[in-house]
Each structure stands twice: as C-alpha cells, then as structure tokens.
Amino acid sequence: MTASMPRRRFLTLAGGGAAFALFGATGCGGEDAADGEFSVWVLQDENVNPVSQASLDRYNGAAEVKGVLQPEVNTGYRDKVHISIGTGQRPDVFFNWGGGSIRTYAREGLLEDLTPHLDGDPAFKNAFLPSVLDAGKIDGKFFGIPMRTMQPVHMFYNTKVFGEVGVEIPETWTQFLDVCEKLKSAGITPVALAGAQSWTELMWIEYLVERIGGAQVFADIAAGTAGAWQNPAIARAIDTTRSLVDSGVFGTNFAAVEWEGGAVQQVFSSGKAAMHLMGSWEYTTQLGSAPEFARDDLAWGPFPVIEDGAGAPDAVVGNPTNYFSVTKDSAHKDAAIAYLKQEMASEAYVDGLIAIGDVPAVADITDRLSGAGNPEFAAFVYDLVAKAPSFQLSWDQAVERELASPMLDAISQVFLGELDAAGFVKANEDAAA
C-alpha cells in the first residue's frame, strides 16, 4: 500500500502532462502572422536571425503591412514547409535552398514568379551576382532572391603536410595526380573523404563532370533531358573517380569516415590526410574545432583545372546561396516583395551579413569584405564566385527530390567499386524512368 501512493501520484501527473500536450496542439496553429502582417519563415540561427530582424525593423518603420520574422528549427523545416504549403497556413515569405527544394511548389503554381519584378527593376537585378541569381532559376524563371552567404565547394590544403612532404599546391589535374603520388609515398592519405555520407563523394563527381564536360552536361540532367546521363563526360568522370579510388587517393577506410560528428575534419587537420574538397563552411568548422590549424596551416584554392576538359576553368559548384521565395496566394504579396526589394541588397543588410562572417551574393562588395572577421578567406570566396561563369547547385539539391537518393546511392557504389560508368548511368536512368 505504501508503494501505491507515489505511483498513483506519478500517473496522475503524467496524465496531466498528456492533456497539456493535447491542449498545446490546438494552440499550435496560431503562430502565424496576424491580419495585416506578412510572415517571414527563416531557420533558427542565432547569428543570422538578428540581421534578418534588423532588416524587417527597417522595412516595418515606414510600412503599412509589417513583416514578422518566424524562426523555425532546421530539422524538420523542409517537412514543415511541405505540409503548410499544401494547407491554408502557408508563410508569405520563406527561406529555402532553391532548386529541388522548391521546384515542385514552383511547378504547381504555389510560388510567385519573381521574373517580372527583377526584369522590371534592373538596378535590383544587377545588385546580385548573376551566376548565383541564375542558379536559383526553375524552368527559366526566377523564384528566389539570394538572402545569405554563398557556399561554393573548393579545395582545402593542410600546408604543414605539404611542407613536410615538399610538394606545391596543385593548380592542374596533372599536378594534382603528381602531388597525390608523392603524398602516398610519404605514407599520407592524399585526400580526406567522409565517405559515410555520399554527398561528400558527390562533390568530386560534380567537379569532375564540370571540368571535363562543362556546365551544360548537368544542366541537361537537371532539366530531365532524355539521354542526358549518356554524355561521355559522365562516363569519363566516373572512370576518373574509380581510378582515384583504386590508386588509394582517398585512403582505404574512407567509406567508414563520418562528416557528421567531425571525424573527417579531424583526419584532415591532424595531417592524416593532406587535402579536402568541401564547402566553404569547412573554414568556420576548422576555426571552431582546430583554431591553431585553421590559423597557421590551412590553405584553400579552386578545384584543379583538367587540361583537356571542355569546362570553364573558373566554374564553381556547391550551394550558391539560400533564397527567399514568396507564396503566390499570399494576401500581402506586394508588401513581401517590397520588403525583399528594399532590403536584400541594401547596404545595411549586406554589412550585417558580412559582420557575421557571411559572403553575400551581392555585386561589387569586394572592398566592404575587409570588414569581415576573416577578410582573406571572405575575399577568396567572393572572387571565386564573382569570376565564375556558372555556379552549379549541388546535384542532390538540384534534381527532382525522388531522384536524389538513387543518385547518391549510385555515387556511393561507384566509390565502393560496385558500379562502373555504365552501371552508374543505368542506375540513374532507371530511377528517372
């Protein structure tokens, strides 16, 4: 009998908790902006959110319809957008990754076509880097306004290892292969690769295809053109990848190395491996986890040029930027667009982004980047993109959502030696069939 009292109280408490949770559910739909306000959905991020809020404050001051910032958690954000965009609770303006993350909505007519707004206001359109603005196009139309940092993928080098082995940072593919040989002889894994996540492997395929065949090869694939995967550049890129793997450029245990959790960063910073192909965020990550390495021994550069390739030597791949899109049925569409026009390329907003370490996709800001916390790296990233004739959005973001997983599987199988070029092409064509 003595034992039953606390247990009963425990159960009552727990039951009360459940009722609370149920009650909370009904209150949940009410977070939307009230009438006469437009909602701006962004990812929860303690660095960016204040900058976004400041831009809304500036806009709201003189505006009749005011904007309300609504930060959402990263995990599940896509789902939340996906669910709400199909219901009446859709946002007016929302953060997205462009490409495949909004293609379905754009095609179903759920998003406002921003092309007329950009074409009708050349000053606004020219305020952005054209390669980045173009990367957000869907079926030839603009649906997104760049709103954050650019995240191109490029090479990182451990200069300490390079110095010890006595090799120079490679600019061409021949030099790259030569460096790999020398590193291997010295007992060092040439390239760190987090092969447990196939999107890191994808970066290699993206650059090889871009350098070998040019930007059009993948543009055709993303557009769903028949036979696009058959392009010989794909086969050559896959063959090249396989020979890299076979010759031990990525070491032997890359398939078990994690990106999530930072194992690969550590392989790279500790000098077990000498090079790393990664998004520009690698710099910030290393600065956080291995500050000494990031300060003293970390160098960066563009992906090597393949001498006989058809691609532009300056082209980049990666995540051009994040975008704001406007929903078509928004009751406050005009206010939302006015906000984007006023703020997204404004001096105050751009300076705000630079101050938190972003490299915005806005034209002619080279001198302002000196105000960044890491001016040298920021300038490199900015120049890399500014002079790039094209900026290829990561394939897994660019293709139809249901094609991404099969493609990533096939890439991972290429790295494991389970698929050759023909098998890779077939796997992707089968998925699209």
Binding site: H82, E108, G195, T252, A255, A256, E402, A404, D409
Partner: protein, 310 residues
C-alpha cells in the same frame, strides 16, 4: 477482501441460488476497440489503399492504378532490400538463439557468481535502441573509435568495419545481438528455472553426463520457449530499422538497405508516399507471413498457451 471470501463461503454453504452475476457489457471494450481501430486497423486499410495512389504529401492522394505495384516488382533495390532483410533476420536468429539459450540455462543456476554476472549481462536492456546504435556508431569510427584499436585484431587492418559490405552487415547483427541477447537470455533463464529438478536427479542416477542431461532434458523442456523467443526475434527483426538508420544509414552503398529503410526514404525523404505505402504493404505481407509460418510450424496451441499462461 475478507468480506468477499466470507460471502463465497456463504454461497457455498447455502443452498440458495445466487442471482445472475452482473457482467460488463460491450461498452467496456468499446473505447479500446475504437482506439485500436482508428490508429491501427484504419492505417492498415489505408496503407493498402494508398499503394494505389500517388501522393506527395501536398493536397490529396490521386488514383494511380497499378503504377506503384509494377514499379515495385521491377525495382531492383526492393529485391535487394528484401534479400538483405531476410539475411539479417536469419543470421540474427541463428546467432542469438544458441547464445541466449546457453546463457539463459547457465544463468538459471542459483550460484552467487551467476547472479552477479547475470546482473551485468542485463545492462544493455537499460539502453534504448537509439542510444545503443549511436554509441556503437562512435565506437566504429575507423580513426578515433574502438574500431581503430580493435579492428586489426579481427581482420580489419585500417579499422574500416562499417565501410565494407560484410563488416556493416556483421556490425548490425552484432549490435542487434548485443541489445537483444540479454532479453532472450532472460526468457530462457525463467523457463529453465521451471524445469523440475527431479528430472535431472533421475538423469544423474541413470549416469547421464552434463551434455546428455542438457540434450535429453533441458532442450526438450525448453521447446516452447524456443518457439516464443524465435517468434519475437523474427517479428522484432523489423525494428532493425532504427539501428540501421543510426548505425549505417543504409550504407555503405546500398549494402544495408532493408525494406523499412526504403519505405522511410521513399516517404519522408522523397515525398513519394504512394510508393512508400506500396513498400509498406509488402512489409505487412512479409511480416504477417513470417508470423503465420512460425505459428503453423510450431503449433498455435502451444504459442497460445505460452501467452495465456502469463
């Protein structure tokens, strides 16, 4: 309570007929039945219905006829995942059953050291599948985990266990075994303790050794327990999904893709809920068939008596 017993005595003593005992009406089971119907049976019907539709999660599902089903039957990944699912199930059963049987019978002994060790063996049961998978995920890191130190001892020179096909499958069988052997040991321990000691005494008098006693008495006496434990293992093998998602995420390549994993990915990553429902239907069919086969081969009556004897 005492009054109730007095009444029983009164009823027994007296010759007077007791009035008809009030019995609960169907209202007592109705809430449970409705609840179960709404959250478990309705979904079962819906999953089949959805398999004949395309649905992206936006708007309403649209009829798609046999589209998903013809895709399912030509999808090589589904075939591969079915094979992997069965392979993992059989391998797990074949390793866990002898292990937990032997450990359970051993733990049934009342010696003090056995009690202490049993308490240690019980520990994995205190961790959730997610915690266990995440823990081993860290241990299996080829550069910084236990795999770096222990891998070479078991033939993985570079610590690359989870990045190889065989290693990843073995890792899943190991981790699942680590998690569930303690549970099945517990079941066998309880059953072994119920074997009448007199049987062993008789065998000893007959001059039977330890092995003979085990073979002639312990094993036959545990037959029903083997059936129960195997059923739980095989049906439970569907829960490999969590472990796989967190431990290998289906990799390397497609080596550890199982049916629930494909279903989850098609639905919640690809937003192809119709096709996901088709894979789910296949999963229901496979799961139910497995359970029915076990019940058929082992005798339903025994199964029921084990369950009802609780």
């Amino acid at each position: 309570m005492s009054t109730a017993f007095e009444k029983v005595a009164a009823v027994r003593r007296g010759s007077r007929r007791a009035a008809a005992t009030p019995r609960p009406n169907f209202l007592y089971i109705l809430p449970a039945a409705l609840f179960f119907g709404f959250f478990a049976l309705l979904p079962l019907v819906l999953v089949v219905a959805l398999s004949f539709t395309t649905w992206t999660g936006i708007g309403d599902p649209e009829a798609a006829g046999m589209e998903n089903w013809s895709r399912l039957f030509s999808d090589e990944k589904v075939l591969a995942a079915t094979r992997t699912t069965l392979f993992l199930t059989v391998l797990s059963w074949a390793t866990q059953t002898p292990l937990s049987l032997l450990l359970g019978v051993w733990a049934a002994g009342r010696q003090r050291n056995r009690a202490v060790l049993s308490a240690v063996f019980f520990l994995p049961l205190l961790l959730s599948s997610a915690a266990i998978a995440l823990m081993f995920h860290r241990f299996l890191d080829p550069n910084f985990g236990l795999a770096a130190d222990l891998g070479p001892l078991i033939g993985f020179e570079d610590g690359n266990i989870i990045g190889t096909r065989g290693g990843a499958l073995a890792a899943i069988v190991f981790v699942v075994g680590w998690q569930f052997v303690p549970f099945h040991t517990l079941i066998y321990q309880a059953a072994a303790r119920n074997i009448p000691a007199v049987l062993y005494d008789a065998a000893t008098i007959d001059g039977a050794g330890r092995w003979q006693a085990f073979r002639r008495i312990t094993l036959p006496q545990l037959r029903n327990t083997v059936v129960t434990s195997s059923t739980l293992m095989i049906v439970g093998s569907l829960t490999f999904f969590e472990t796989i998602l967190l431990l290998t995420n289906g990799g390397p390549g497609i080596a550890t893709h199982v049916l629930p994993f494909l279903m989850y990915r098609a639905g919640f990553e690809g937003y192809e809920f119709g096709y996901a429902a088709t894979i789910a239907t296949l999963l229901v069919v496979v799961g139910t068939t497995l359970s029915l086969l076990i019940v058929r081969f082992s005798g339903f009556a025994k199964m029921r008596s084990t369950l009802e004897g609780l």
